[in-house]
């Protein structure tokens, strides 16, 4: 057996991290106004919009659905941004429950792909976006700690209950 992590488990981790930050930012709304800069985002709220909006866009790309334009994403409030994440999760679940999905075909075209860049398989694209948020939550955790407002976020996979 080749040891691995299933995309279902990565999805569980993704949900747990998103749920943590939704609760934490709901309880500490002033954090949303902190200056950010990561990925060119002016403040934490814009950064969270990037994280959850990217999930939705990738879920639509992998599903072959029309892609919600960046300019159409809501800019807030937090509940509306979280809805982007929830819509993405529904799409991810539909993908994972589709028995006809060809996970290894390098067929995923994303609009900003450079011609020389290979098309990823749905497996790689889904793993990418499920880990994209984890990397950004780690950055956000550092940002709020550096601002004197540590979140207590346990972002390591070790702390995730989606896998044993």
């Amino acid at each position: 057996m080749t040891p691995s992590i299933t995309l279902q488990e990565l999805l569980g981790w993704c949900e747990q991290s998103a749920d943590f930050w939704k609760v934490h930012l709901d309880a500490n709304p002033a954090l949303l106004q902190l200056p950010c800069g990561i990925g060119g985002n002016a403040d934490v709220q814009a950064f969270v919009r990037h994280i959850w909006g990217a999930e939705l866009v990738w879920s639509q790309i992998i599903c072959g659905l029309p892609v919600t334009d960046y300019d159409v994403w809501p800019t807030g409030p937090l509940d509306a941004l979280f809805d982007l994440h929830l819509a993405a999760i529904r799409n991810f679940r539909a993908l994972l429950e589709n028995p006809n999905m060809n996970w290894d075909e390098c067929s995923v075209h994303y609009p900003w792909r450079r011609p020389e860049a290979p098309k990823p398989s749905p497996r790689k694209a889904l793993a990418h976006i499920l880990l994209h948020s984890q990397r950004h939550w780690a950055q956000l955790s550092t940002l709020v700690r550096a601002a004197g407002l540590p979140s207590g976020f346990l972002g390591d996979l070790l702390a995730c209950s989606a896998l044993d």
């Binding site: 749905p122 990418h128 990397r135 950055q139």
Partner: protein
């Protein structure tokens, strides 16, 4: 088929990221002295020491090898810190090449910061954790350097890894 990412693929991504930072920090050694603070480390060199030292620590734990105490890890230079990573990669490869390895076996962790419900992870989970721990820290380091006015050009997303298609 349940879609999954193999640990071979995660190991390749880990190695690619480590190789990027080794080359980048070799070419820009002044970055190593930048103040840091991530994980309580004083500067970038200490953060890199943490990242690669932890790689080694988990690899030794999973392989049942004696663990080198954190206080005995070298402070530097970068080449010596990178050796910690290379030794870890060797251990990880041995584990992945071992057909008799029981990935469902559990470790008992009694470290502070580990929630009780997460204190008996399988070897599979620990290896997944070990291979992703560095990726989260590299993302933080990329931000730290950019904020300090020294963008690295690091492309840390899995999408850019050639370790899987």
């Amino acid at each position: 088929m349940i879609p999954a990412i193999t640990f071979e693929e995660l190991l390749a991504w880990s190695s690619q990221s480590a190789n990027f930072w080794k080359a980048h920090l070799d070419a820009n050694p002044a970055l190593l002295s930048l103040p840091c603070g991530i994980g309580g480390t004083a500067d970038v060199q200490a953060l890199v020491r943490h990242i690669w030292g932890v790689d080694l620590l988990w690899s030794q734990r999973l392989a049942g090898l004696p663990q080198r105490n954190k206080d005995d890890w070298p402070q530097g230079p970068l080449d010596v810190l990178f050796d910690l990573h290379l030794e870890a990669v060797g251990n990880f490869r041995s584990l992945l090449n071992d057909p008799g390895k029981s990935w469902d076996e559990r470790l008992i962790l009694d470290r502070p910061g580990i929630p009780p419900e997460a204190s008996r992870p399988t070897h599979r989970k620990v290896l997944g954790h070990a291979l992703l721990h560095s990726q989260r820290h590299w993302a933080q380091l990329a931000t730290l350097l950019r904020n300090a006015g020294f963008p690295s050009g690091f492309k840390g997303d899995l999408l850019f890894s050639s370790g899987l298609e």
